[in-house]
Amino acid sequence: MILARVIGPVWGARQCPALEGRRVLEVQRLGLGRASGGEEIRADCDERHLQPATLLAVDALGSDAGQLVLVAVGSRVRDLTLGPDVPTKNVVVAIVDEAFLDPSGTGGGR
């Protein structure tokens, strides 16, 4: 699983039947490389904590734009949460209230 921030929902005028009624979100992955440690990472975290690329994830929990979420990647997790017919590999499995980074764990001298 990875941490990501929700940018917002994505709608399609025409979509495959298995996606009807599903919420598709654009999320931005968190990059911890520039976190200095001892930090609380909140949903309104600084842009420097985010990686430039985004990905799309299907959300069954109803998360809103700006929230931090936990995205599981893989077809097996998709089968277990949404069902095998939904064409996605990225699934939102938790909405994050709080995340903490500790300086002693930053490793590799960063």
Binding site: I2, L61, G74, V93, G105
Partner: protein, 113 residues
């Protein structure tokens, strides 16, 4: 399985029912096998009780679910062990399939020739 260091913890109230009462840790991988992973962190469910700052062994995929005792958990990373000591032979580290995440060599790594 990969080697990683616990750098933080995640809390959330709204989550998949099977993630209830599970401790979730942020792990920074120390090394990857095969092609490098596109992310510099993983969130892994921890049934072992690891603390921030400790090195851990993280299972990925189906073994991660089996390590939690049920293959129906919607999880693809879980902590399988807490590491006391790592010893790496120099020849193994030189093999092309083994690489340190971000080409950073972790501290406290014992090397044997």
């Amino acid at each position: 399985m990969i080697l990683g260091r616990v750098v933080g913890q995640v809390w959330g109230t709204r989550k998949h029912p099977r993630l209830e009462r599970q401790k979730m840790l942020i792990v920074r991988p120390l090394c990857w096998y095969g092609p490098d992973h596109p992310t510099d962190h993983l969130v892994a469910v921890d049934p072992v009780g690891a603390q921030v700052g400790q090195d851990v062994v993280v299972c990925l995929g189906l073994p991660a679910r089996l390590a939690l005792g049920d293959p129906r958990h919607p999880v693809e990373a879980s902590v399988a062990a807490i590491v006391d000591r790592v010893s790496l032979s120099r020849s193994a580290a030189a093999r092309p399939f083994f690489r340190f995440a971000g080409d950073r060599r972790p501290e406290g790594l014992e090397e044997t020739p």
